[in-house]
C-alpha cells in the first residue's frame, strides 16, 4: 500500500515516541549570553553584541549571520533551524514558532528580501545572506507603515501570528500582486491566524498599498 507524503503519515500517533532530531541551538548560543539571562535581559530590546569569543563547544560549528544589518558570529548546532538560531542564539524572539512545519507562517522572515519560513531553514544555509526579522523593520518608536496599519486596523488579536503576518505583508508589497482583496488573500494564504483577524489583516495591507479595502472576498 502506498503512503502519500510519508513524513506526515508516519509520525502519527507516534508523535508520542518520535525523536526530534533537531537541537534547538540552546546550549550552543553566543558565548556568555545564551547560558542564562535574567528576565530583565530577556525582556530587553535589541540584538546582543556580537562576539568572536564563542567557545568551541564540541559538535558545534562557527557561523556568521547577517541579521537586521548586523553581522553576528556564533557557534551553532549544525542542525539548528534559522528560527531557533534567531530566537535562542541571537535572542530575537519576535519571530514565533507555531508548528515547526512550514504551515502556519508565524516564523516568516526575509532572506535577501524574500519571505521564507524560518522553521524550514537550516541556519547553516544562510551564512552571507541578509536576514531581516520583525525587529529589523520597525520599532515601537518608529513603526514600519505596515506595522502602523496593522495597529490601526486591528489586524491581530492574540498577536502570536502577527510578526509573521507583517513580515509576509511587507514582502508582498514587492511581489506581483493584483489590486483586489482576493489577490492579497492568495498571497497571504501562507500565514494562519486562528483568531480569524483575516478581514482586518487584508484591510491593513490594502491600506498600505493604497487600495481601499472592500472587506470582502
Amino acid at each position: 500500500m502506498h503512503d502519500p507524503d510519508a513524513p506526515d503519515h508516519d509520525d502519527a500517533p507516534s508523535g508520542l515516541t518520535r525523536r526530534n532530531f533537531l537541537t534547538r541551538a540552546g546550549a550552543a548560543g553566543i558565548a556568555g549570553v545564551a547560558a542564562s539571562i535574567p528576565l530583565a535581559a530577556a525582556l530587553a530590546e535589541g540584538v546582543p553584541e556580537a562576539t568572536d569569543a564563542a567557545p568551541d563547544i564540541p559538535g558545534t560549528v562557527p557561523i556568521a549571520l547577517r541579521v537586521n544589518g548586523a553581522t553576528l558570529r556564533m557557534r551553532i548546532d549544525p542542525r539548528a533551524t534559522l528560527l531557533d538560531t534567531l530566537r535562542e542564539s541571537v535572542h530575537l524572539t519576535g519571530t514565533k514558532k507555531g508548528c515547526d512545519h512550514g504551515q502556519c507562517g508565524a516564523c516568516t522572515v526575509h532572506v535577501n528580501g524574500e519571505r521564507v519560513n524560518s522553521c524550514l531553514r537550516l541556519a547553516l544555509m544562510h551564512e552571507g545572506d541578509d536576514i531581516t526579522t520583525i525587529e529589523g523593520i520597525g520599532s515601537p518608536d518608529a513603526l514600519h507603515p505596515m506595522q502602523a496599519a496593522f495597529v490601526a486596523h486591528d489586524g491581530y488579536q492574540c498577536g502570536y501570528c502577527t510578526s509573521g503576518q507583517i513580515m509576509s505583508a511587507v514582502a508582498l508589497m514587492k511581489e506581483p500582486c493584483g489590486p483586489r482583496d482576493s489577490d492579497v488573500k492568495e498571497l497571504m494564504s501562507g500565514n494562519i491566524c486562528r483568531c480569524g483577524a483575516y478581514p482586518n489583516i487584508v484591510a491593513a495591507i490594502q491600506d498600505v498599498r493604497g487600495n481601499s479595502p472592500m472587506r470582502q472576498g
Binding site: 510519508a6 515547526d100 521564507v116 506581483p176
Partner: protein
Amino acid sequence: MKTALSTLEMRRATSVAEALEILRDEPRMPIAGATDVYVGLNFGTLPELRYLDIWALDELRTITVNEDVLVLGALATYTMMVASALVQERLPMMIEAARQVGGPQIQNRGTIGGNIANGSPAGDSLPVLAACDAVVVLQSAGAERRVKFTEFYTGYRKTVMRRDELVVAVEVPRVSGRQWFRKVGTRAAQAISKVVVAGVRGEGARIAVGSIAPTVIRLTATERALATGSLDEAMVALRGEVNPIDDIRSTADYRKRVTENLVRRFWTETA
C-alpha cells in the same frame, strides 16, 4: 536512537561540477529549498545525516527554451515559474500547480528539482510533468543521461536515480493540445493534495494523476479508451487502473470517484 551533535553535516557546493564531484566521492542528500527535507528532519523520519546544499548553484536556476523544448532548471522555484512568461506560454498548467503549492513562503524556496527528487506521490507539479511527457536530466561526474519522467519513479519515493546523480533540469517538449489541471486539496490554500489531475487534450489524451497511488501515474488504459472509444468506456478502463487507499487525509472511495469525475470533466471541458 540518539544522534550525536556533529553527525548532521552539511557541505555547500559552489558549482554543479563541484557538486557532482562531491556526490561521486561520498553519498550525500542534495538539498536546495529544503521545504520537504526539513519536515522530515523535524519529525525524525529522515535518517539522512549528510547533506549537500546546492541552493547557491545559480546555473540551475534557469527557465529557458532550447530547440522548442522548455527547460526548467532544477532550482527553478515555484515563484519563478509563476512569474515566467515562457512557462505561462508553454505550460500554463504548471503555473496553476505552482500557485497551489504551500504558501508563498514555500513557493519562494520550493524547487521543481526538489519536487521531482523528493518524489512524494502528492507532489503537485508531478502530474503536470507526467502528462506532458517531460524528461528528467540527470548528471553525474562526467556523465549525463535523460530519463522519461514516466519512467523516473520505481515505487513509493523510489526513483531510478543513482546516489551520485543530481537532477539538473527537466525538459518539457512543446505541448500540443489543451492543458487542464485540477488539484483537490484539504482546503483552499496550503493544502496537501487528495487527488491531482493534469491532462493534455491533443490528438488523443494524456492524463496523469497524483495522490492516488505510490507514485504519480499516467492513466494509460483510460487514455487509450478515450482515443478510440467513448467516455463511458474510458470510465470502465479508469476503474480498472485506479486503486487508491484510505489514509488520514481521504478515503479510497472518495479518491476513486473524484478521479473518475475529474477525468470526465477534463474530457468535457477540453472538447
